[in-house]
């Protein structure tokens, strides 16, 4: 019994820290509608800055608490700079492009932090005055944790006061409800957005700084917190402060007790709860359905016509290169080319969901990984030959695509994307924790092609044929009635329904088809690598796919193909050339978002049309 109480208290402390970060995220989203991936980076910066300040400043109360507050404010200033230099320019861009930009910031911050503070974990001092513990029901509980438990509600109270008792707060709430109306009333939106971003970043920085006495500061803090913060924000309802508090409480306690009750599925538990909440309440616990979309939400998507002649030539040239070049290439180059082919299909499959489907997926790697595991498990447990393994891949991926998709495609926008992420994380956790079957972190080794396909050149051609065939099939589908129906429900749900299109069914089948295609890519990847690991289904790989599609452009299928080649090639080269590949890649992503908001293919298309004068 005493143990349970302490466990609940420690859950409260986690909830409190989580709330600080999530509050910043939700406030920023509410006003600017930006899904800020970089929020986790601000949290990490807050922790690092606090470490530097606290260890440099004289010891004692002033040094510690002054350092923490100064770190939070400094983080706020960094957020402000990012808003003014980058985000301010892209508020009108599509949601996913903003996401891409903030992800560029994540990469940049990671390398800058590495350069500044080094790769090793940093341990901060404990908080003066809160080093000891207090006896609660005969057990000692750390004072600092008690302090954290108080911080959350205090910050919530202050924020509520700020939002309900000041003119600025009223404007923020108004902008959360209807941004355009606030603009029409003559409010200086720039100032409002910038100040909100500052506040949100301060909260993230504070959240990070307050972790100093609890855990070591390291370079993985950003992505681990951002996933949790997103979960909290989405479960609570985007833009809802009270919802964030409630969800933080729920998630914090879930962590605390999950370990006691169900240690085997701790990693899944949080995402299971999120999935459950979203299925029952599609807009989170306290979230409201967004009002009717305003007319100017985005310019109409371009018409998809037959490919222009130069593009056909370019495609033919690329195909010739893909077929002939390997004859001269060595084993390493062949492996790289094989990966190129696989990622082209992977990106093309995601494009079906994002482009014609108009949905976002943050968890597309799930189907890539499920394909890989499908093949590997068939090989390991059934001793299946390669072709059977390759057939099992799309089957496994498609089956789960049908299952997960049935839930995901009912929601829209960020909620739908977060649900795809939740399912991907569940799949990842199962691969990671079900050691008996999947080998856990060690993966499944020895997934090699049959002897006839063992030579790298043969396997490359096999991969090329399958990936190319599947990609062309996707193109065919996009141009066929089904693909048009998919675009129809994206363009106008009202009209689609009025002419007899079942939007849910169409989206669902498209989601499953994309999963099947990703599964083929995953299966081929498994045999190419000879092994599968949980990372195949991880968030970074989902983000890779997202980046490929967005870099290339979502409008036409040439986008993800070009994006996949550019991204895979760039990463490959950068990793070989420099340790700072994240910095450079992040910089390139940010530059692309600023200067080519339609993606590479979109920009080329615009230029081509302008040159012909019929744009």
């Amino acid at each position: 019994m005493e143990n349970l109480v302490l466990q609940a208290l420690s859950g409260l402390a986690s909830a409190s820290s989580l709330f600080l970060v999530a509050a910043g995220l939700t406030v920023i989203f509410g006003v600017s509608r930006i899904v800020n991936f970089a929020h986790g980076s601000f949290y990490m910066l807050g922790a690092y800055l606090a470490w530097t300040l606290v260890t440099t400043l004289p010891r004692g109360h002033l040094g510690f608490w002054g350092g923490v507050v100064a770190a939070a404010l400094a983080t706020g200033l960094i957020g402000l700079v990012v808003e003014v230099l980058l985000l301010r320019r892209i508020y009108r861009a599509p949601e996913l492009f903003q996401l891409l930009a903030t992800f560029g910031v994540v990469l940049i911050v990671q390398d800058l932090a590495l350069l500044t503070w080094g790769a090793q974990d940093l341990l901060g001092p404990r908080a003066p005055g809160l080093r000891g513990g207090t006896e609660i029901l005969g057990l000692r509980f750390p004072d600092y944790e008690l302090f954290l438990i108080v911080v959350g509600p205090v910050v919530l109270g202050l924020l509520l006061l700020l939002f309900h008792r000041t003119r600025w707060g009223t404007l923020v709430r108004a902008a959360t409800l209807d941004r355009e109306m606030v603009g029409a009333l003559g409010v200086n939106q720039r100032m409002l957005f910038t100040s909100v971003f500052f506040l949100g970043s301060v909260l993230a920085g504070l959240g990070g700084a307050l972790q100093l006495p609890r855990e070591s500061v390291n370079l993985h803090m950003d992505l681990s917190i951002i996933t949790e913060a997103f979960v909290v924000v989405v479960v609570g309802g985007l833009g809802s402060l009270g919802g964030a508090a409630l969800a933080a409480l729920l998630i914090g306690e879930l962590h605390a007790f999950g370990i006691l009750v169900l240690p085997k599925i701790t990693l899944v538990l949080v995402f299971l709860v999120m999935a459950l909440v979203l299925v029952v309440r599609p807009h989170g616990l306290l979230g409201k359905a967004p009002g009717p979309a305003h007319g100017g939400a985005g310019s109409a998507e371009p018409v998809i016509g037959p490919a222009p002649r130069p593009l056909l030539w370019l495609g033919a040239a690329a195909l010739a290169t893909a077929v002939l070049l390997p004859l001269l290439a060595g084993d390493y180059a062949l492996s790289v080319l094989t990966e190129f082919a696989i990622f082209v299909l992977f990106a093309a499959s995601l494009h079906l969901i994002m482009g014609p489907g108009g949905m976002a997926s943050f968890g597309h790697a799930a189907y890539f990984g499920l394909g890989a595991y499908g093949a590997a498990l068939a090989a390991k447990w059934l001793a299946a030959p390669m072709l059977l393994g390759l057939a099992a891949a799309p089957f496994a991926a498609g089956l789960f695509g049908l299952l997960f998709g049935w839930f995901c495609v009912r929601l829209s926008g960020v909620y739908s994307a977060m649900l795809t992420l939740a399912f991907a994380q569940i799949a990842w956790s199962v691969a990671f924790q079900w050691v008996e079957v999947t080998g856990g972190d060690n993966g499944i080794l020895g997934v090699w092609p049959d002897s006839w396909a063992a030579p790298k050149l043969v396997y490359y051609y096999l991969t090329l044929a399958l990936c190319l065939g599947a990609t062309l099939l996707l193109r065919r589908v996009i141009h066929a009635p089904f693909g048009f129906a998919l675009r129809a429900q994206r363009d106008s749900a009202l009209r689609a329904e009025a002419i007899g299109i079942d939007a849910f069914r169409t989206r669902w089948l498209a989601f499953a088809l994309a999963a099947v295609m990703a599964g083929i890519a995953g299966g081929l990847f498994a045999y190419a690598k000879g092994s599968v690991f949980p990372t195949f289904l991880g968030i970074p790989r989902s983000v890779d796919a997202l980046l490929m599609v967005l870099l290339g452009g979502v409008q036409t299928l040439s986008g993800p193909i070009i994006g996949a080649l550019a991204y895979t090639g760039l990463q490959e080269q950068l990793v070989r050339l420099t340790d700072l590949w994240r910095l450079i890649l992040g910089g390139i992503i940010v530059a692309l978002v600023l200067f080519f908001p339609q993606g590479l293919a979109g920009a080329a298309r615009a230029r081509w049309e302008a040159s012909r004068g019929d744009a």
């Binding site: 675009r487 009209r495 329904e497 009025a498």
Partner: protein, 252 residues
């Protein structure tokens, strides 16, 4: 048999009774206008007919079949075409493709994965557009079309379903006066030729009185008059609703 029969339809939003027991019928080939001042409940009434809104009470029957509360896509399947007050078309498709989509849906071919749309139902779509005077615009994207032209596209989409009933919510809003008369004359011609029952709402009284066979007048959710244009025009209650009757009642 009447194409559409509406019986004691009711709908409230919160405490506001938007439609209070409306009943009427539309015959094949008939142009029936539903008019009334702003807020009379026209659009609410309309949206209940094709399933966009579920009525609180009452029945909607299409050719004798009860369709009350069916989803819009099922209502379409039973042979109802619809145009919207604020046009809704597929902006990323050309005018022709928009009509092709409606035809493909009518022929139940939208699930096909192989043959490109560009080769399916092209000729009938072109014929339909030619009939509505939109042939020249066929290859333009709907996203950049003028509003009046979008109204025509919507009509083409609705007609592609070979409808028995055509529901047109403000079909000429946003059009030039010359165009309005032309479009409604065209609609009336097609309706009579094919025996389509047409129910439309309209603000432009010239359009209403020159093209409707019969007129329903709705005020504050209830029908206050029904009949031939001349009769409705002469009805004192209609005059009161539209013009007010300041002299006798002192305004309200």
């Amino acid at each position: 048999m009447a194409t559409l029969e509406v019986e004691a339809l009711r709908k409230s939003f919160g405490g506001v009774q938007a439609v209070r027991g409306v009943s009427f019928a539309v015959q094949p080939g008939e142009m029936l206008a539903l008019i009334g001042p702003n807020g009379a409940g026209k659009s609410t009434c309309f949206n209940m007919l094709n399933g966009q809104l579920r009525p609180d009470a009452g029945r909607v029957r299409l050719l004798g079949q009860d369709i009350t509360g069916l989803a819009p896509r099922r209502v379409w399947r039973l042979g109802v075409g619809r145009t919207f007050q604020i046009t809704a078309t597929f902006g990323s498709m050309t005018v022709l493709e928009n009509v092709q989509m409606a035809l493909l849906s009518h022929h139940r071919r939208l699930g096909q994965l192989w043959t490109p749309v560009s080769r399916m139902d092209r000729a009938p779509a072109e014929a339909l557009l030619a009939r509505l005077g939109m042939a020249a615009q066929a290859s333009r994207p709907c996203g950049i079309l003028a509003y009046g032209d979008l109204k025509r596209v919507e009509l083409a989409i609705a007609l592609a379903n070979e409808p028995k009933l055509l529901l047109m919510d403000e079909p000429t809003a946003g059009m030039a006066p010359q165009e309005r008369v032309g479009l409604m004359a065209l609609t009336a011609g097609i309706a009579r030729e094919r025996g389509i029952a047409v129910l439309f709402t309209e603000h432009d009284m010239d359009v209403v009185f020159s093209h409707a066979d019969r007129i329903l007048v709705l005020d504050r959710g209830a029908l206050i008059a029904e009949g031939a244009p001349a009769a409705v025009r002469a009805d004192p209650r209609v005059r009161e609703v539209y013009l007010g009757s300041g002299a006798t009642q002192g305004g309200h």
